[in-house]
């Protein structure tokens, strides 16, 4: 039997890897991938809690999070394609038009 804290610690590490990738990478697509890592950390936490609380609500939540992740990937990558078409770059530090 694996204790709950192991799962929660792993979820925290995964979430923080995602945060680190989101804050440090330049490529928009890799930033979206980092968001997926964060969502997976949360998913792991929810599934572990659903198992240890003997309830299926956490798994239902995870199901919806996967749906939202798919929608977010579709929209975000569409934006990335449009961005590349108009600016020829997907690097966030070159997109500073609003800075004036």
């Amino acid at each position: 039997m694996i204790p709950l804290t192991w799962y929660m610690a792993l979820a925290v590490v995964l979430f923080c890897i995602g945060v680190c990738g989101f804050l440090t990478r330049r490529n928009v697509i890799v930033m979206f991938l980092s968001i997926e890592l964060m969502l997976n950390g949360v998913n792991l936490n929810l599934v572990a809690l659903s198992h240890f609380l003997e309830s299926l609500r956490g798994q239902t939540f995870t199901f919806f999070i996967i749906t939202v992740a798919a929608a977010e990937a579709a929209i975000g990558l569409g934006i990335a394609i449009t961005l590349y078409r108009s600016r020829q770059t997907v690097h966030v530090d070159t997109i500073n038009q609003l800075k004036g």
Binding site: I2, C16, C20, L56, R57, T60, I66, A70
Partner: protein, 185 residues
């Protein structure tokens, strides 16, 4: 004992491939590392008696979402990406924030106590199978959110279509473009 060794293997692979995914220079390699990570996440879901979600993780995440990422990466030119720096000019601020948040969150984990147990003990789920139990939960207590999830997917479909189509392009645009190129050559 076997459980713990399996968990350790999966955790090690998840952390390693996650770190590689955010530090490798080539975005295609990043996506492939995330693929490895998702497979091990599915393994962890199996240890938590969530078989349906393990299958969904592989089919939807690894099969659909990551393929979408790969397609977009190939539409965006990655050849010049390889010569550029992969990180923003001062990445250490972000790394310090992430590590600080991780330490803080791990520090508060032992204070967590479980609430009261729900209505699905392990024996009941095993008797009914996980997929059937999840379906019952999904189509009774979470029916309205399920419908809204379908609506979200529809909105995302239409949004992706509108964003990715070229402005002012008719349906015959590709053919005309090809003809122009033929004339030019």
């Amino acid at each position: 004992m076997f459980d713990q060794i399996f968990f350790g293997y999966c955790a090690l692979m998840i952390i390693t491939s996650g770190l590689l995914a955010i530090s490798l220079r080539n975005p295609v390699h990043c996506v492939l590392m995330v693929l490895v990570l998702f497979f091990h996440m599915a393994g962890l879901y199996l240890t938590l008696q969530a078989e349906f979600l393990a299958a969904v993780q592989i089919i939807v995440y690894a099969g659909a979402i990551l393929v979408l990422y790969l397609f977009v990466l190939f539409l965006v030119s990655i050849r010049e990406e390889l010569q550029l720096d992969a990180f923003i000019p001062n990445p250490w601020i972000g790394r310090i924030i992430a590590v600080g948040m991780g330490v803080g969150l791990v520090y508060v984990i032992p204070a967590f106590t479980l609430g009261e147990k729900g209505a699905w003990p392990e024996a009941a789920i095993q008797e009914l199978t996980n997929t059937k139990a999840l379906g019952q939960e999904l189509f009774t207590t979470a029916l309205l959110p399920f419908e809204i999830a379908g609506l979200i997917l529809l909105v995302a479909l239409i949004g992706g279509l509108v964003l990715a189509r070229r402005e002012g392009a008719g349906p015959l645009d590709n053919d005309e473009h090809g003809k122009k190129q033929e004339v030019a050559s």
